[in-house]
């Protein structure tokens, strides 16, 4: 049986894809450090403080996370990742969206026309329920379905 959660749609869209789950804060700067310093075009996460995502390629996946963390320049890193098309397809936040992701998402969406989906306030239950590799269906009204 599917598990259904309802959040607040920030950037609306429909998608079906596999989940990548981070139970700790997602740092755009640390995650894309090789994009930052080495002009890498790889979506493989470099943040070795993030045991859930380290070494995994989240390009085009559905990233499930509590919030993002790190430098106030994190939005620049998200834009750098958007520019080389390695961002996830959707970002699903269990908490209220934070300023780093908000800025990065909006600038990537409005200035780079990156078609990323974002939903926040899905709750701790969502992050406890979802597992990496789960198939997820996202709807534009903010409904998130974890398929069994």
């Amino acid at each position: 049986m599917s598990k259904i959660f309802k959040g607040r749609p920030l950037l609306q869209g429909n998608a079906e894809e596999l989940a990548e789950v981070s139970h700790v804060g997602f740092s755009p700067t640390a995650s894309y450090i090789d994009v930052v310093f080495k002009n890498s075009k790889s979506g493989i996460i470099q943040d070795h403080d993030n045991a859930d995502l380290y070494g995994r390629d989240i390009t085009g996946k559905i990233l499930c996370l509590p919030q993002s963390i790190g430098s106030s320049a994190g939005a620049c890193m998200m834009m750098a990742a958007a520019k080389v098309h390695i961002l996830p397809k959707a970002m699903l936040f269990s908490n209220h969206v934070d300023s780093l992701s908000a800025c990065g998402l909006l600038m990537a969406h409005n200035f780079l026309e990156e078609p990323i989906i974002a939903i926040d306030m899905l709750g701790d239950e969502f992050l406890n329920a979802v597992k990496t590799g789960d198939k997820i269906k996202v709807s534009e009204d903010g409904t998130v379905e974890i398929e069994e």
Partner: protein
């Protein structure tokens, strides 16, 4: 959680889960009312694209941003502009492309601005040639960034400092001014000590707000959003070290606003300039060890003087801080140096020093060297201050400035944190009196007496000596 690797770029790193705006949304639910922004006719015209595509994209971005955080309107900015972006690594190219679209459209910020210190100061830090080369390769967009910032409204090439609000730097807001700033320590100081109003913004969003001259009205911009959820009851026997007290507060309250009691009696003993630098350093530490955008100090900061404990929300929490609690906090800091590493350099002045802090450093160093019976420091000592502040120091205190020259102490104008986060530098064992440097790098933080021991012997101290700080 502390960083285990100094791999982060930028100066506002915070590893706690917070919104980063300075406004906690811990209790928010998707079912909460989602306000729709009410725009003025002029704002609506911009939103509809009647003032060009760039302004339209900027307006759409700040309106969505505001609505996500519960803003019902925009407000006109009234004060000076300070923004954090000052480092030109390859990664900022997409942002620079947007900045260049703004320039091509003939748009500037609504007032001239200052920016954070740059990552390097080769003249005063003099890194080895191979490191300098690698540094320059890392920041390949540096000159392009500076040129872009000048076209967008940067005051001049000497306007890079995180303490640009100091009178000598010339970008000081007034109480009640609406701002859209980045740089956590500058935001924290202007909100708390001056009483102007800014949220904690992200790089990029700051520029969009400042070209429009508007920002969403939520959080720290509002009276309600400036109320304190924590009473911090300081019961130390003496004036606490600003950067350990700030660390304790930041780690406890994260991004909530603290109302601090029990320190005004200590602060009243200080000359005004030293009181302000104590507040600057204490606040910067709440902002870096936590994510505090505003604090109130009873009997000291402007809103606390006006409203007193009415600034506390009804169901506030209390955190008592005594000397034992500060010891616990200090002793919790990890040593991230490679095994067996010995101190190589001393970095002092993060956030950038004031004129008075430079003068006090000269006095402290003279006393320390005299006591040790030596003429010059054993390790290279670097002080950090904005160019305009350093020039004002040299003019006001020529004897002290000459002393630094004589003993080989340099005043650098870059950002020590960004310098230490750059990969080619990031494993250098540096000691510091800044708890902001500590949290963003592997630098080790010491009390002044221990710091002087290291400066005069090159050796780490055997025990912690946390005597009352004579100076701050």
């Amino acid at each position: 959680m502390q960083p285990t690797n100094p791999k982060f770029e930028g100066t506002d790193l915070n590893l706690s889960l917070t919104t980063g705006t300075g406004v906690s949304k811990k209790d928010a639910k998707p079912s909460d009312p989602q306000p729709k922004m009410k725009l003025t006719p002029e704002e609506q015209e911009i939103f509809d694209g009647k003032h060009g595509e760039i302004r339209q994209k900027a307006m759409k971005t700040i309106v969505s941003y505001g609505e996500w955080f519960g803003a019902e309107k925009l407000v006109d900015l009234t004060g000076p502009v300070h923004m954090a972006l000052s480092w030109g690594s390859g990664a900022i190219a997409p942002l620079l492309e947007i900045y260049e679209q703004i320039i091509d459209a003939g748009i500037k910020t609504y007032k001239p601005f200052t920016a954070n210190p740059m990552p390097m100061d080769h003249e005063n830090l003099a890194p080895a040639p191979e490191k300098r080369e690698e540094f320059d390769a890392t920041y390949s967009n540096q000159e392009r960034l500076i040129e872009d910032l000048l076209k967008l409204g940067l005051i001049d090439r000497d306007s890079f400092s995180c303490s640009s609000y100091l009178p000598e730097a010339g970008n000081t807001p007034k109480k009640g001014d609406y701002l859209a700033w980045t740089e956590s320590s500058a935001i924290n100081y202007s909100n708390s000590v001056i009483g102007s109003r800014t949220n904690r913004n992200s790089v990029g969003m700051d520029m969009l707000c400042n070209i429009l001259g508007k920002t969403p009205y939520f959080g720290l911009m509002t009276d309600e959003g400036r109320k304190a959820k924590w009473l911090i009851d300081v019961r130390t026997k003496k004036r606490p070290r600003s950067m350990v007290l700030g660390s304790a507060i930041g780690l406890k309250v994260l991004e909530d606003i603290p109302y601090i009691i029990g320190v005004d009696k200590f602060l009243d003993e200080l000359p005004e300039e030293q009181k302000l630098s104590w507040l600057k350093d204490m606040g910067a530490t709440t902002a870096s060890n936590g994510a505090v955008g505003l604090y109130h100090v009873e009997g000291t900061t402007p809103e606390a003087i006006e409203k007193g404990r009415d600034l506390l929300v009804d169901d506030y929490q209390t955190y008592v801080i005594d000397d034992e609690e500060l010891d616990r906090i200090y002793n919790s800091y990890p040593n991230l140096w490679p095994e067996g590493a010995k101190p190589e350099q001393v970095f002092v002045g993060c956030p950038h020093f004031t004129v008075e802090q430079l003068r006090l450093s000269s006095e402290k160093l003279q006393e320390g060297l005299k006591e040790a019976g030596i003429d010059t420091p054993v390790l290279p000592v670097h002080l950090f201050a904005g160019k305009k502040v350093a020039d004002a120091f040299a003019k006001r205190y020529p004897k002290e400035a000459k002393y630094f020259e004589d003993v080989g102490v340099k005043i650098a104008h870059n950002c020590p944190v960004m310098y230490m986060q750059t990969p080619v530098i990031s494993d250098e064992p540096i000691i510091t009196s800044s708890n902001k440097c500590r949290v963003y790098s592997i630098a080790r933080f010491f009390y002044d007496k221990n710091l002087m021991h290291i400066i005069t012997t090159g050796e780490l101290p055997k025990e912690i000596q946390k005597e009352e700080e004579k100076y701050e």
